[in-house]
Amino acid sequence: MIDFTLSKAQQAARDYAHQVALEEMRPLSLECDRTEEIPESFFWNMQRRYWGGAAAQARAYGQDEGVKQENLLSVISQEEMAWGDAALATAIPGPGLAAPPILSQGTPEQQARFLSIYMDGQLHWGALALTEPGIGSDVAGMSTTAVLDGDEWVINGHKHYITNGARADLIVTFATIDKRLGREGIRPFVVPKGTPGLIVGRIEKKMGLRASQTAELIFENCRIPKENLLAGRGEKKEGFKAAMGTLDATRPMVGALAVGIARAAYEAACEWLREELPAGYPPHKRRAWEEELKELGQEIEMARFLVWRAAWMADRRIPNSKEASMSKAYAGALVMKATATAVRITAPGEESERKLLIQKWFRDAKVFDIFEGTAQIQRLVIARRLFPNIDIP
């Protein structure tokens, strides 16, 4: 039955994440953005509150309610985290983007071996390395290679723009085992931190998400055990396609982050109109802004519903790549609109912390139309699903 009310578990996940965002993220936000550093204490606080607290609570409730809802619970919390600070949200300890390919492509033995390191209560991160200087959207053209030599895979190549690349304990790295096979030759490998031949290059300076670490990784005869190839499970070893499919699952999460920033900017602009409006501000202009913000609020709700629907489908194992792309594309464009509107509305008047945050969110926003598939790539995915029999190059 169609229902837009949050269950107990869903509401609890939202409240908990909001509290964490308010107490652990907002107070650090501007400083971390300025220094491009995150204090160690933040990681420990998140480890304690997020993994020990929210995740356990969600698991307990999720079981109580008798339905699979990990995707929904996750997008609900992600929105709140990004409302706190999206850059900090990407740095929360845990396997992060490395988890989906390990879970979907790893054998039970591999899952146990790789994911257990995140269970010891210490600080660990994961990363996913797909993008190279020569390729981004067109992953099939990647040039990083993996060659089997005895009991080891030897990886050579160059990856960049890798989130948490320098601090990750495990980096799921995509490489080709045979360039002639094109995308069919691409496989995911798990490369542990500290492997000889894995070199951390530059850390990027960015427009926004500055506290999020974006690293260059160089692989020079980097040797990993044969068993670190994620070769797919069971009868069907689908390799590349299945591995890419797991990225579909993360698009609603990125959409949720975008919704969180959009909402933060929207709320701040509304508060500015209420509390910081300079004396002598023309009333007709204020009314015009209020109208614009009203529409923006409606669009934020629509973006959230698209995200929720895509996550809900994922929980029910309903194929959702079209809907996942819709949620990401819609939210990615909206967050830009929301933050730009907030910058415009709050341009007059005095400097304030609120305005600095709005400007930060504006700088953070643009990337949501770029990573995890650009705006154009999302539209391609949607169009290809709408017209399965037509070749849309």
């Binding site: 169609i2 229902d3 837009f4 529409e295 519903f305 809900w312 154009q376 070749d391 849309i392």
Partner: protein, 368 residues
Amino acid sequence: MLDFAPTEEQEEIRKLAQSIALDHLRPHARKAEAEHDSPNELRLTLAQTGLTTPFPEEYGGSGPLEAVTYTLIAEELAYGDPGLALNIVGSLMGPLTVWLAGSREQQERYLPTFGDSTSGYLQRGSLAFAERTGGYTLADIHLQARRTSDGYLLNGTKRDVVHGQRADLRVVLARLSEHESESPEGKLCAFVLSGAQEGLSIQAEEEKLGLQAAPSATYLFNQAQLPAEALLGEAGSSGVVRAATLYQILRAAIACGTARAAFEYCSAYARERIAFGRPIVSYQGIAFIIAEMAMKLDAARLLTWRAACSWDRGEADETLIHEAESAQRQAVKMAQAATTDAIQVMGGAGFMQDHPAEMWMRDAAAME
């Protein structure tokens, strides 16, 4: 708990509405547009399915209405034809407002004729909402009602009243100020107008941009004196708000159906149409327009469903108003963009009356 799937029963009703839309609405759309009305056979067919009598069985209805279910139905009808969908929904809003806002006595007086199994389908209701000074939001309702010794005195205007001229049951939304001193805003309320009302001039709206299949009229009230029993229920009651927001939600659903018709129609065209040796949809310039259309349609539909869910759960008036008006605003805006883009996708053909796209673009524009 969040859930995005209709129930099995709702899915069956939706399919029924869709088959009627495709068999009976879509093929008659141009004729209905030219004749400015729905044919009686269509109304009979709909009445036989029970889709147009969603009020309690005791009045001959098919069972009380659920907003979510009716949102699904309204989208399907508009997918058949927006003008006919509004014709049907506009008529329905008359008896529905009596059911939602009226006293038991008023329900017994007005509803059974609509539920009558042999002649009910010939009855037309109407609900006057928008005015010459505004759009379809409650804040724009200013039709002024003042209490007099033996009734109410009405002054103001109404526009776009579907079936306003021929209706058997005319309901109007107004603002009631009990005392001279009270704020001019007044309480939201609904009145039933009798056949020949002194002080009321009804003018048919002949030259319309779109939605011609839904005949409409303008009302001009000039010191119109209504009897006391004309007031439905009580002024300022939730029943009136529920009727008004239901209309907004159903109008949002009609906008979604309009957009879906345009989306599917131009998609089929873009799949077949060849330019420079390839189907035009294989060009990103076209494919992305259509992808965007699909995405924004889903977004607006979810917003509409949310408002309908809240209506069914009986949320507070302010919540209902906020959600219904959001849904209506976004859905209408989305439908205008989708129908306009559908013509763009089709090129010159989209501009021609051989195809329905130009009619849908006018229909969506006429929803303001």
